[in-house]
Symmetry: C2
Subunit: 141 residues, 2 copies
Amino acid sequence: MKKEFRSLCPIASTLDILGDKWSLVLIRDMLVRKKKTFKAFSASEEGIATGILASRLKLLESFGLITKRKLPDNKKENIYLLTEKGIDLAPVIVEVTLWGDKYMRVYNPKLKAYENLKTDKASIINTLQENYRQMVASVIA
Amino acid sequence: MKKEFRSLCPIASTLDILGDKWSLVLIRDMLVRKKKTFKAFSASEEGIATGILASRLKLLESFGLITKRKLPDNKKENIYLLTEKGIDLAPVIVEVTLWGDKYMRVYNPKLKAYENLKTDKASIINTLQENYRQMVASVIA
DNA sequence: TAAATTACTTTCAAAATAGAAGTAAAAATG
DNA sequence: CATTTTTACTTCTATTTTGAAAGTAATTTA
């Protein structure tokens, strides 16, 4: 969990922490699929190894993109939630989705479609974020 | 250079090829800084190892994000240029820059600022892309 | 009270990365 | 024209990261 950066470029610095095959997939699981537990992340179709998952969650938490807490009625489950900092990755998630939808299908023909995204990007980003905040509020209420 | 995908998700599939610490930095070097040669990429402040650079260029070319050519008057230099597919990553680059600009400065205080980006994102993306296309046209003319 | 579940950690092999050095062809220099 | 320099790599080795499987401890369910 070293916090050193390669340069003074915001892109490079962001990639210093999110530049891997798993971090944005986890953010997707949380923001889009409302996943909250180690178990749920572990069950993603991409099949993340539990060791990697544990280390990624720790890293995301250390950089304040997610929080980890327990609910009063369950001492076993940990609930991972995106912070505003994490929720603010919604535009990145959406742009990556759009790009992948447009260009990766030729290599991965059965890719799921995301037609609607193109038409009203801004409002979809907003809805995604608002829905997530609602969910967070209801969980920690 | 394997072309297998973890899932049918466009995000995960995009990360299958771009999910590392270097690919988007190279795209940045090309799109924003107009870099075109192995030498130029090699000289980036982030200090990419030449072996990694060679393998990344090969991967980006294999997925059609960049092309590699020689100019008629120089048999030594290779010119790497973004294709439309690569140029279309501009929105991702911009969103990552904005996010990094907003949230990474706390860890990397001397990050360069990108104020203007926030105000007219769409037009900046367009200008970036148009300028790049112009440059490509003038290079291959 | 026993079995199952959750959230991990540990272990080990395989793959990716980093850094340094080396090479071949082309271009620039004297 | 010969030599040096440049460009674009490749190769090598050490270190780090990843992936897959198995193990563990606390908690919850049956």
